[in-house]
């Protein structure tokens, strides 16, 4: 069945595979645009290899499907940390490894240049992104929400909330809003009582939630006035606020940040070109350049010094980065160890919770 299901995808992919182009599957919208500007265009200019961009709500399951079916059309995929680990464990990714990665621009070897844990056996992190929440200033003439607890407080701020449809990040945020310190979140969530507590907190706002799936949705929901506040990827909120001039404010309290990583699916049609692309895209300069297009922190320390202005030439990027000190006051690093093990179970629970009335 898998073969047949992907038959259509594979057929459309034939034209891509025939040329020596690199097909990159990413998350679309402002994020993909930043990658095109910072990675794809310079890469094509340097090597002559074309880069084809494919959008997805989440590339990881598609990579898994394609590899299981033995019919891979993607050369490079952009995935979350837990997915990178899982796919690698299941033998669905080509190994990459620290040793092939170039040293930083300042000469620091890759192993020291990348942030801790940013390079695994099969994946190289490009950015640190964060799930935060934001709101439309114009809807709050008086008191404005400042904490994660405010997001869950519909008495103080009555109105609709936007949340990503899935367990990840929501459960952590619920616990933090319920008073669990960031450091204890995963220990709490590891117990049945902790899970119950998280869902109980979500219960308090369940009737007010509009669920989103694609990263581009939350800014739209905010702009349409469909929700009062919404969780979102911080880069999307930034793009809407700075690039489009929307009156959105990002609340960093209780943010959940993690890496986004490039992986090469096993059996990628243009594996060598893909490897070149990954090396190029995770170089100091490319990572620093990306920060000029979207507010995600580069995964190399050496890039940090090169991050300057947004591409409008006047916006300082540092305050918008998840990793800037001011934003890390009450922040949680997403635990891939936890999600690799509990993703299935907690999403089942989440679906059951969602479907119950």
């Amino acid at each position: 069945m898998k073969k047949l299901l992907v038959l259509s995808t594979a057929l459309t992919a034939v034209s891509f595979a025939a040329q020596a182009d690199v097909t990159v599957m990413s998350w679309g919208g402002a994020y993909t645009k930043s990658q095109v500007e910072a990675y794809h265009k310079p890469f094509t200019a340097a090597t002559g290899i074309n880069v084809i961009s494919v959008d997805s709500d989440n590339p990881a399951p598609q990579i898994k499907t394609q590899v299981e079916a033995g019919n891979v059309s993607i050369d490079v995929g952009d995935v979350e940390y837990a997915d990178a680990i899982r796919l690698c464990d299941e033998g669905m990714l080509e190994p990459i490894g620290m040793d092939v990665l170039p040293a930083g621009a300042d000469g620091t070897p890759a192993a020291d240049d990348f942030l801790p844990g940013a390079v695994t056996d099969c994946a190289v992190a490009t950015i640190v992104f964060s799930t935060v929440y934001g709101y439309d200033n114009t809807k709050f003439p008086d008191a404005k929400p400042t904490t994660m607890a405010d997001f869950f407080d519909t008495t103080k701020f009555p109105g609709k909330r936007g949340l990503r449809k899935g367990a990840k990040a929501n459960l952590e945020m619920a616990l933090m809003a319920d008073g669990v310190p960031a450091a204890d979140v995963y220990a709490t969530l590891g117990t049945p009582e902790g899970v119950d507590r998280a869902f109980a907190k979500l219960d308090t706002i369940k009737s007010d939630v509009i669920w989103w799936e694609a990263g581009a949705q939350p800014p739209q929901l905010l702009a349409d006035g469909e929700v009062l506040m919404s969780t979102a990827y911080n880069g999307r909120l930034f793009a809407a606020a700075v690039a489009e001039g929307k009156p959105f404010t990002t609340v960093w309290d209780g943010q959940v940040y993690e890496y986004d990583l490039f992986v090469i699916p096993k059996g990628a049609p243009n594996k060598d070109a893909a490897m070149e692309f990954v090396k190029f895209a995770t170089s100091t300069q490319a990572l620093a350049d990306q920060a000029a297009w979207i507010a995600y922190g580069p995964a190399r320390k050496s890039s940090g010094a090169l991050v300057g202005m947004y591409n409008d030439g006047k916006t300082e990027m540092a305050p918008y980065m998840p990793t800037s000190a001011a934003n890390l006051g009450n922040a949680l690093a997403s635990s891939y160890e936890f999600w690799v093990d509990h993703d299935g179970e907690l999403n089942d629970r989440f679906n059951a919770w969602l479907a119950s009335n």
Partner: protein, 420 residues
């Protein structure tokens, strides 16, 4: 003559003495062969694109070799030793040998995932053991449990025994919110994990409601289509078909624009002073949004069969009933309505079956309360990658539709179905 032939064993022959049947078969064989060759491409197409995926879905729902293929030695041990046997050193040796091999082949996580479906939290147990197993020394029972004491858990062994068979009915159990207890008996899953039965019920109830709404709206429209003079009827027909020619996504998105809190309908109501600014109706991202959008999208599937049934009904039937003394309501109820039942059946069945499997619209406008079983099937195909569970859910859905079809055949008769 017929009787004569039946009683008479004499074989009929042609004028040149060949048996008649043989001659007939020969004369027709070329034509038959040509006819077969003409339909062969279509037949092949149907087999490849329709029959074989369904067969594979059925197979997938009961077949999951992720554990047995990647852990062959321990699976063999389970086969040789009956249920209830305490795992001995031989069992642990087999298990460690499998873990070493699967760890090297990077398939240990696949096996772990299969166990993880049944016993959450065990995936990393396998991946960790896959990495460490080659360093373990005999006796393995001791060294493996030292690595992680969970390896001694009887529940884990029970689960491993179960998943060591590639063929299993467990996914069907999961699809109706049941599970096997550690002792092997079948029980309901904890209340806060029950989802599928609830969703099946909601899916069927909502589909029935949508079918009813489609009938309520579609019947007068179809009647008008059948009764209006040609030039008005074709205009109306275009209006009915227009949604057919528009992308499903465009139609659904249009409903989002219309129904959302700051949307057209609410703004009109506020502007007209019917509701206050802070009383804007919630018509989307819930059951109501799904119902409105799906009723609209599926309406043509109700109207067209109804129209095709109504069109040939001459007005003289109702006139006859009226002249015989029936009021217009009685004439409709006793004479017109019964004659449109084939259309109601066809349209109803079509709309019901389509809405039972509908996916995109509920995903976009259904919010949490408007989710249907197909959204969960999509979730298991696209996100959780639990294809066997998705296949089991899909099979149950398919079976219930076949059941419905059978019921329809019993109650109304399938020969009375008129699709156009």
């Amino acid at each position: 003559m017929a009787d004569l032939a039946a009683n008479d064993p004499v074989l009929l022959t042609t004028s040149d003495g060949r048996p008649l049947q043989e001659a007939l078969a020969q004369a027709q064989s070329k034509a038959k062969w040509r006819a077969f060759m003409l339909v062969a491409p279509l037949l092949a197409f149907i087999l490849i694109t329709f029959v074989s995926p369904i067969v594979q879905v059925l197979h997938q729902s009961v077949y999951n070799p992720k554990f047995s293929e990647n852990m062959p030695q321990i699976s063999a041990w389970f086969d040789q030793n009956p249920n209830g046997t305490e795992p001995d050193e031989a069992a642990y040796t087999a298990l460690v040998a499998d873990l070493v091999a699967a760890g090297a082949a990077k398939t240990v996580a696949v096996a772990g995932e299969r166990v993880n479906y049944e016993m959450p939290g065990t995936r990393s147990l396998f991946t960790k053991a896959g990495r460490e197993a080659k360093k373990l020394q005999p006796p393995f029972m001791e060294s493996l449990t030292k690595l992680d004491e969970n390896w001694a858990s009887p529940e884990l062994w029970g689960v491993m025994r179960r998943v060591s068979h590639a063929y299993t009915g467990d996914f069907y159990l999961a699809a109706v919110d049941l599970e096997r207890s550690p002792t092997g008996s079948i029980q309901q899953v904890p209340e806060n994990e029950r989802v599928y039965v609830n969703l099946f019920v909601r899916t069927f109830a909502l589909s029935a409601a949508i079918t009813f709404m489609c009938l309520l709206i579609g019947y007068p429209v179809a009647f008008l289509l059948a009764a209006l003079p040609m030039r008005y009827a074709s205009l109306l027909m275009i209006m009915v078909l227009l949604p057919f020619w528009t992308s499903l996504l465009v139609r659904t998105t249009a409903w989002m624009v219309l129904l959302q809190g700051q949307g057209v309908v609410n703004s009109l109501l506020v502007w007209a002073g019917i509701i206050a600014e802070d009383q804007r109706l919630v018509m989307i991202n819930n059951l109501m949004g799904t119902m409105i959008a799906m009723t609209h999208i599926l309406l043509p599937f109700m109207i067209l069969p109804l129209y095709s049934v109504m069109k040939p009904i001459p007005p003289s039937y109702v006139r006859a009933a009226r002249s015989l003394g029936a009021t217009s309501w009685t004439a409709f109820r006793r004479v017109y309505l019964p004659q449109t039942i084939p259309g109601i059946g066809a349209g109803g069945l079509l709309v019901f079956i389509l809405s039972v499997g509908y996916y995109i619209t509920p995903a976009l406008v259904g919010g949490a309360s408007g989710q249907l079983i197909s959204n969960l099937i999509a979730f298991h195909v696209n996100k959780s990658n639990n294809w066997s569970l998705a296949a089991a859910l899909a099979t149950i859905l398919l079976a219930s539709i076949l059941l419905l079809y059978w019921l329809y055949d019993k109650l109304v008769g399938i020969d009375k179905l008129k699709l156009g």
